[in-house]
Symmetry: C2
Subunit: 334 residues, 2 copies
């Protein structure tokens, strides 16, 4: 039976590694593909594959509203969804720091399994390594997940499809995840919880209802400003946001005011921005609001002709350019 | 232009991250899928997918015969091959320690690209994070690769297919990678070089020539002894090796003698063990020897009826049980 602390033997490839896999990972993730005995999982294929990978290094590994395990599933699932793919399979690569607690690992793995269930994906293969801890007093872990999905061949969801006149819709409040992590790091007590969530329902409803999505992206590292700048450059259009419409919760707004943070550059883990034709705007907002995690969806701006850039119209009527994120941001938020 | 040291901004998701991706990864890996602008790569699909993931944490990151980049491609490609799949696509997740040199990163990425070319795979999507270094004097990196391949539906390569009478064939000398890494760590001067290599040619030749492979596995962490024990348990058979036939180079043998290491438990990164029917033995050895990296292939033992266990017949005629790896092994060899 596995208990106590992780040590190097858990990553050496011998019997302790087998024990760890059997007792912790296979126990939690059990499915017909993972239960095979080869190093690769073999799964039924489809027509067009979507593939993505993401490593999760967030500290602390547990935080209000989630943990690194939930994050590692949401992040990769949302990357697949926003590529227009239906997520099917995840891989899980664990890089464990020596001294990490096996009970904490079990909690994280359980959280991954639950989130995978909610998102409708299966974790089909994995790998474990153990390394020295950066801080021996607080050993942590890193999780890499790669995702595989299938794409309906008629979908064309690319930033290059964005056209002047399109509406910019945000699926909910900005800044929750970033502010939750930072609050934990600073030991600030507040009500803020990470928004970490798989957006399977929201995106699949929009596609099923034939909303003509031109582009979509989950709003993670770099924040909304960075994504809209990428969109604007790729499509060669101007994107104008209305400051008054950007949804931010009272507690996050207060927290940001205190620290001088801008929600436009903060990372989220359960928010998506959609660019869609104006004619679909009302219907799309309605569909998102009736989907899980989309209750605060709102149109926040519009694509207009002009030099590629992103601007925001302030509450008092001014308009300023909003660049992409420069510099550090907060490291290890995901 | 990227130069100098990696810092946290390279992982923050802003413009410095884009610069890193553009100038280092996309430059080296460029292909029609990776060059898309979404977070996932979309690739043409097939009938049955093979999926695998592996994280590479080896220290030092450069060593005689290879580097962490070459390793990260070989390991994942070989996992796909030994599942009976033709490798097609790799993902690459980079976890960089702050302070790591960008020139070293370029070298590693170039090595990955070259090895991918040799192995016949494309790296189609990636991710970058930056973390604090465990040892600020020697910042390193971790690479996760996930692999996707397609499986011909008629192939049945599983340890459960192993039958009494089968021949055990090893594709070459044991211990080179493990001994090369350990020599570097101990600053021992010798001729030993890692065997890191993609086994695409060897495995595809065997399959094309209709060799009826019952099981195969690349001999990595845990060594040959651990793999044969897994095979033996899964198939419920005894596997007997002949000590005199196990191929080990003179220099590795000398190195092992000095340190009391057993090549049966040492990790390799370009060796494969095949279990095939006796009738195919001669032909299979011939095919492997005429394939790249297979020149020292040799039959090393046989599957026999009896209680599941692995034994070795020594040069003087004794026979002893060979268990799987227990305990630490050498950490961070892959």
């Amino acid at each position: 039976m596995i208990s106590g602390k992780i040590d190097k033997t858990h990553g050496a490839g011998g019997s302790e590694t087998s024990g760890l896999i059997e007792e912790i990972f296979r126990e939690a993730f059990s499915n017909e593909y993972l239960d095979g005995l080869n190093d690769s999982a073999v799964v039924p294929g489809g027509n067009r594959l979507a593939v993505t990978t993401d490593s999760f290094v967030v500290r602390p590994v547990f935080f209000p509203g989630g943990d690194i395990g939930r994050l590692s599933v949401c992040g990769t699932v949302n990357d697949l969804l926003t590529s227009g793919a239906t997520p099917y399979y995840l891989t899980a690569g664990f890089i464990l720091e020596e001294g990490f607690d096996t009970d904490d690992l079990k909690r994280i793995v359980k959280s991954m399994a639950e989130t995978a269930g909610e998102a409708g994906v299966k974790i089909i293969t994995g790998d474990t390594k153990v390394i020295e801890p950066a801080d021996p007093k607080e050993p942590g872990l890193i999780i890499n997940t790669s995702g595989i999905g299938f794409v309906d061949s008629w979908l064309r969801i690319f930033p290059s499809e964005i056209k002047p006149g399109d509406s910019v819709i945000l699926s909910g409040n900005l800044g929750d995840h970033h502010a939750a992590i930072l609050s934990e790091r600073l030991s600030v007590r507040n009500e803020i919880r990470s928004d970490a969530a798989p957006l399977t329902e929201m995106v699949s409803h929009l596609i099923k209802e034939d909303i003509d999505i031109h582009a979509m992206r989950d709003v993670t590292r770099g924040g909304l400003a960075t994504i809209l700048n990428e969109f604007s450059l790729t499509a060669g259009v101007r994107i104008r946001m209305e400051e008054i419409k950007i949804p931010v919760s009272q507690s996050v707004r207060a927290f940001c005011g205190l620290l001088g943070l801008d929600p436009l550059y903060m990372g989220n883990e359960g928010k998506c921005v959609f660019i869609i034709p104006e004619k679909d705007e009302e219907r799309a907002v309605d569909i998102i609001r009736h989907s899980r995690y989309g209750e605060n969806a709102v149109p926040i701006g519009r694509v207009i002709e002009g030099e590629a850039c992103v601007t925001i119209r302030t509450a008092v009527g001014g308009e300023r350019v909003v660049g992409p994120l420069y510099g550090e941001g907060l490291p290890r938020i995901c």
